[in-house]
Amino acid sequence: MLRVQRGDDEAFATLVERYQQPVMNLLYRSLPDATEAEDLAQTVFVQVYKSAPRYRPTARFSTWLFTIARNLCLNELRRRSRHPAEPLEPADSATDQAPRQYPDRRTDGPVESLLQGELERKIEEAIRDLPENQRTALLLCQQDELSYEDIAKVLGCSLSATKSLIHRARETLKARLKPYLRTGA
């Protein structure tokens, strides 16, 4: 990040490469539209680039990054609740000029893929329906590099409150997914 502050674009590209998946995991499971999640992830990194001169290495970079991601996600969720029909950006915006290219990750057979896909849909639905702070706490908890203390910093609450949010989120998911977990896990 210090290299990015000195205007090293190659270092910034490395950062994007390193953190694109964790950021997308958070946004994809927080927003109902994959395309909007992707556009928002792009906005997150552009914001990181623009804010780089203000970054101080007192906190971990990932904590700072996820704080930006969470704030932008919250803004988008609020905007959606006010204007439910409007997309994040106009369809003809410059961000849509480059076509999206997705790698094919399918490895299982068709039946296994179908069952796993169905289970994932149920889990993702259940996660998306959680209150925002519980959902974000749960999703950040899946990031290996973030400690509970880091998650508390991103959420702006105490350590015990963070653990409580994660616990409540898991209890809700267990209750809602009980039939699927027994057969699918």
Binding site: Q20, R29, A98, R105, Q142, K174
Partner: protein, 166 residues
Amino acid sequence: MTTSNDSHWQEIVARRPMTDREQRELAAWLAKHPESAEHWAGELALTEALRKLSPAPVPSNFVARVMAEVRRSEPAPRRSRPLAGWRWWTDWHHALPLGAALAALALTLAIQAHHRAQLRVEVAEGLSALPLEGLAQLPFWQDLEPIQALPEGPLPSGRDLLAALE
């Protein structure tokens, strides 16, 4: 397992699958506490299900798109940066003409100040040459209008001034 151990293990399963050793310890404990078996089965199943979630789809050209967007939006902040603080001073495009104007202004002021100082010295020298004993009785000291009526431009010499006043 104590309550603190239970809490510790809860934190572990919330983040990752248990290691083999942790699983063995848990199984040994559950053998003695079968009433908790259902709770822990749910916990472990949820952890496993969350772990198996596919990563969110990321376009293979995502980095390139971010970099393109960064470059596209880059000129705006850079253009506004020079006026934001004193950094514009380092930009010679702005500093050179401004510096030249400031130098010209300073030179003009210095020349004017020097000219006034010279004039003051000349007048002082002229006045010091006057016969001071006669000067005190002159009636013009009661009326300053003659002095105010002196012409504009270079001051006359001391003797001319005295002749004019008399």
